[in-house]
């Protein structure tokens, strides 16, 4: 079972290492991890995706709560939510035909070409993980030179907030 867990954390030195350490220490997986300070600089917002059975996910959430720096933990996958991941892809783009085909694919996926050289494009794409996978698949013939993914960020839909 894939889960997206969102954590509000004191923006203290060592806080992130405690979260990450917890996962390795207790044998849980982190599939993706994304962290940055919030608009309140004393807080960090961390989103991680993990897989595990129900019992494991319940333990993960309780163990995360137990960390002293943790203020709130929520399992976004419990309810309707929006998840996005940012991807930057560098591809070889040589010749008019290939370049136009790539541009088409980028348009279809509602991405942007953010850097251009005579022989390459750098494409920016945002969406959920499946969309990003589909894009990579779509341009497989061209072949990617480098792919960078940010890991998932997520937020609950509607009137639910994760605040102090």
């Amino acid at each position: 079972m894939r889960r997206i867990i969102s954590i509000l954390l004191e923006n203290e030195p060592g806080a992130l290492s405690r979260v990450v350490g917890l996962f390795s220490q207790r044998g849980y997986n982190i599939d993706t991890l994304n962290v940055a300070p919030t608009e309140d600089p004393t807080l960090s917002r961390l989103t991680l995706s993990t897989t595990g059975d129900e019992k494991m996910v319940e333990q993960i959430i309780k163990q995360l709560h137990k960390l002293i720096d943790t203020i709130k933990v929520v399992d976004l996958s419990d309810g309707p939510h929006v998840e996005r991941e940012l991807m930057l892809v560098k591809v070889r783009a040589v010749g008019a035909e290939q370049r136009s085909e790539l541009k088409n694919s980028v348009e279809i996926f509602r991405g942007h070409i953010v850097d251009v050289t005579p022989s390459s494009y750098t494409i920016q794409l945002a969406g959920d993980g499946k969309k990003l996978d589909a894009f990579i698949e779509a341009i497989r013939e061209v072949g990617t030179m480098e792919v960078v993914r940010s890991g998932i960020s997520g937020i609950a839909r509607g009137e639910k907030f994760l605040l102090v």
């Binding site: 004191e10 290492s17 405690r18 350490g21 019992k55 333990q59 137990k66 002293i68 943790t70």
Partner: protein, 577 residues
């Protein structure tokens, strides 16, 4: 507001946190703090001979008193030597504050002399840790450290202090916070009232109930409440290794310790129970045996302050997150208005338990051959210790067979009298822990039950006992072998004693003890045991080391058979359930 140096602030903050004693060992990065200790009288420092012992001693002090233990070590090896002690306290939820010196801020990360990332190294074995970044933060951080260590589920907290933070030339205003409040840490003590009512209903409807109480009851000073509740219900009660003394061990309702080396009756009762009332216990693997075969018919009620303990290994049917004290208090208030349990069913249950007791109970049946001549059974040494000390000593132990014999045969009637490393199983714990208990209760009898293996892991502390006048009594069950290892090798490795024997290289413990200025005794005949032990405990002001030669072939029984249900046990070398 008074201006003080960081070093003085550390010690002033300890004083204001109510700390009387600090166990530790000086070194470069901690010297400003040590100088601050030297210039005042409120906080007393006890010098040990190895930092591991400092932590165990503070831990023993904490377990005996319920107060927070305090440790001060230097950076690098001082800090890493403390690690085993910190892990020991963490596993058993013991409140400690460990202050470690660190290299100056400007040197951190440069692989400086005696630099170790203490916050990093200790991360998985602390409740929390802090690295001080400004001298102005020291007092508030120390206040937080004591607050975190002692509230909720207690545990060790590390405060790592770079040397420049305690520089005597830099003075900053000192103020110790009157109250600590943290938005990210608000432990909840009160149990959910609906769950408490559900739990009581289930508990009172039980026909074959068992109360299974652990170390949480002792930590939370809830023994009296638990005892009152158990007596009102007339339910059988078992204690975990960490919970011994939570309910009087010599009482009829006490059915002994449970688990790997638990009594036959306790493990049988658990297995056949219809309701298990778990209080401050964590369904540890040394209790449950195979979790998929654990207590197949039981509805499980589980009180614990730590939500992660609930349904971690065994699912709880009625979980209650809260402190043992408040939840048991709430239960007792509601109890009298509720219908009493089914007396007839309970009588039948007690008859079954009494039958188990009579057949294979370690207290009522002859579980081991009698001592006599040069044959001294380790169990008899513990029984003698109980007799000679009137069952009222603080008993610390190391880890191995002697620990299990002490747990089984010294029937603890009071909480905080049994002090052992249950979770981590740290050999070398017993002697320094005994020093901690003796410091807290100078007039009390403190006995360290140990083996010739464990005692040598921290034997240097005999010197600490001399320096600080800590007259602990050491009961060394000497079988010239790492007994528990040897037992497993007997049972699982066809008696191939890989590195568990060392008879030709053991020291003369009597001479060794005397070299430290203490009294040594060697006992090789069973009929000398009582008189020698009486002589030992009559020497109130002296450290006495009793080196008692016990039966090397003895095993600890009962012993659960791994991978099975709780009630599958070896009862002797040849007899199983």
């Amino acid at each position: 507001m008074e201006n003080l140096s960081g070093g003085d602030i550390v010690i002033r903050a300890l004083r204001d946190a109510g700390v009387e004693y600090v166990w530790g060992y000086p070194g470069g990065s901690a010297l400003h703090i040590y100088d601050a200790i030297f210039r005042q009288d409120d906080v007393k420092h006890l010098l040990v001979r190895h930092e591991q012992a400092a932590v165990h001693a503070a831990d023993g002090f904490a377990r005996a008193t319920g107060k927070v233990g305090t440790v001060l070590v230097t950076s690098g090896p001082g800090a890493t030597n403390a690690i085993t002690g910190i892990a020991t306290a963490y596993m058993d939820s013991i409140p400690l504050v460990v202050i470690s010196g660190q290299v100056p801020s400007s040197k951190i990360g440069e692989d400086a002399f005696q630099e170790t990332d203490m916050v990093g190294v200790s991360r998985p074995i602390v409740k929390h840790s802090f690295l001080i970044k400004r001298p102005e933060d020291i007092a508030a951080t120390i206040a937080k450290a004591y607050y975190i260590a002692s509230t909720g589920r207690p545990g060790p907290v590390v405060v790592d202090i770079p040397k420049d933070m305690t520089d005597p030339a830099i003075k900053v205003p000192y103020s110790y916070p009157k109250q600590v409040s943290m938005r990210s840490y608000q432990p909840n003590e009160r149990g959910h009232s609906g769950q408490i009512k559900r739990a009581l209903k289930t508990l009172l409807a039980a026909k074959q109930p068992v109360i299974y109480a652990g170390g949480g009851v002792i930590i939370d000073n809830a023994s009296e409440l638990l005892t009152t509740l158990a007596r009102k219900l007339n339910y059988p009660i078992t204690n975990t290794l960490m919970g011994l003394g939570a309910y009087p061990g010599s009482d009829r309702q006490f059915i002994g310790m449970l688990g790997m080396h638990g009594t036959y009756e306790a493990n049988q009762a658990m297995h056949h129970a219809d309701v298990i009332f778990a209080v401050g216990a964590r369904f540890d693997d040394r209790v449950t045996n195979a979790t998929d075969k654990f207590c197949p018919n039981a509805t499980i009620i589980h009180i614990d302050i730590d939500p992660t303990c609930i349904s971690k290994t065994v699912g709880a049917d009625i979980p209650i997150v809260g402190s043992c004290k408040t939840v048991l208090g709430d239960m007792l208030e509601l109890l009298d208005a509720l219908p009493a349990p089914d007396g007839e069913a309970l009588n039948r249950w007690w008859a079954t338990i009494d039958d188990w007791r009579a057949r294979h109970g370690i207290y009522t049946a002859d579980r081991f051959e009698p001592s006599g001549g040069t044959l001294i059974k380790p169990q008899d040494v513990i029984k003698m210790l109980h007799k000679v000390t009137g069952g009222d000593a603080f008993v610390t132990s190391d880890v191995g067979q002697h620990q299990m014999f002490a747990a089984q045969y010294y029937l603890f009637d009071k909480p905080r009298r049994w002090i052992n490393s249950g979770g981590l199983g740290t050999m070398g714990f017993g002697l320094p822990a005994a020093m901690g208990a003796q410091l807290a209760f100078p007039d009390a009898t403190v006995a360290c039950v140990t083996g010739e293996g464990s005692i040598q892991m921290n034997i240097q502390e005999l010197s600490t006992c001399t320096q600080h006048g800590l007259p602990v009594k050491i009961i060394n069950l000497n079988n010239s072998a790492l007994g528990m290892v040897r037992q497993w090798q007997d049972m699982q490795y066809s008696a191939r004693y890989a590195s568990s024997v060392y008879e030709d290289s053991l020291p003369d413990f009597v001479a060794l003890t005397e070299a430290y200025g203490h009294v040594g005794m060697r006992v090789t005949e069973f009929d000398q045991l009582e008189s020698k032990m009486r002589e030992c405990f009559a020497l109130k002001d002296r450290v006495v080391f009793m080196d008692i030669v016990v039966d090397r072939a003895e095993h600890v029984y009962p012993m659960q058979i791994a991978g099975n249900a709780m009630n599958e046990m070896w009862l002797s070398k040849t007899e199983r359930t």
